[in-house]
């Protein structure tokens, strides 16, 4: 199946500043909520996001480089998932508080 992961920061190297910057954009926050609800997603599997797939790809990259999501490659399909466990370890309560907000 040749599943590989795109490069991402180690849990200990996730920086609060980069995480906050990544979550500060409303589109990225919406993407994070959708990934949380559905357990993952990709550029073309989030049609309610009001930007083009190339822009979604850019946002997923930003989220991945910040340590918020992890992206796996399976053949020609990709899937991004929230790194909720890593974030909970690194910044306890942070992601929960944000996702719980109205």
């Amino acid at each position: 199946m040749d599943t590989e992961w795109l490069p991402q920061p180690d849990p200990a190297e996730i920086e609060i500043g980069k995480v906050l910057h990544a979550l500060a954009d409303p589109i990225r926050l919406q993407i994070v909520r959708l990934l949380d609800e559905r357990g993952g997603g990709s550029c073309t599997s989030l049609p309610e996001v009001p930007v083009k797939p190339s822009t979604v790809s850019h946002h997923l990259r930003t989220l991945r480089e910040a340590g918020v999501v992890a992206s796996m490659v399976q053949g020609n399909a990709r899937k991004s998932v929230l790194r909720d466990a890593d974030l909970e370890t690194r910044f306890p309560g942070l992601l929960t508080a944000i996702l719980r907000a109205t």
Copy 2:
């Protein structure tokens, strides 16, 4: 003493998006940490912040409009304090998680 408060959003109207945007800037995050440590501050009482007082004023305004800080006027002196209680009510655990981060 004629203490008055500058306009600020009600606790129920604080938006997570604006709070995250306000905290995403590294200078503003530093200001928030200093206000937390010292219980308050003003434009000229935060010399370790590497920007000019006029810029600190701008950041304090951004933080106040987002609902992160409250600013009081006493004569010619002003003092801004963290709205930690309001934030804890509105987004439980959020500020604590951020301030606890290394």
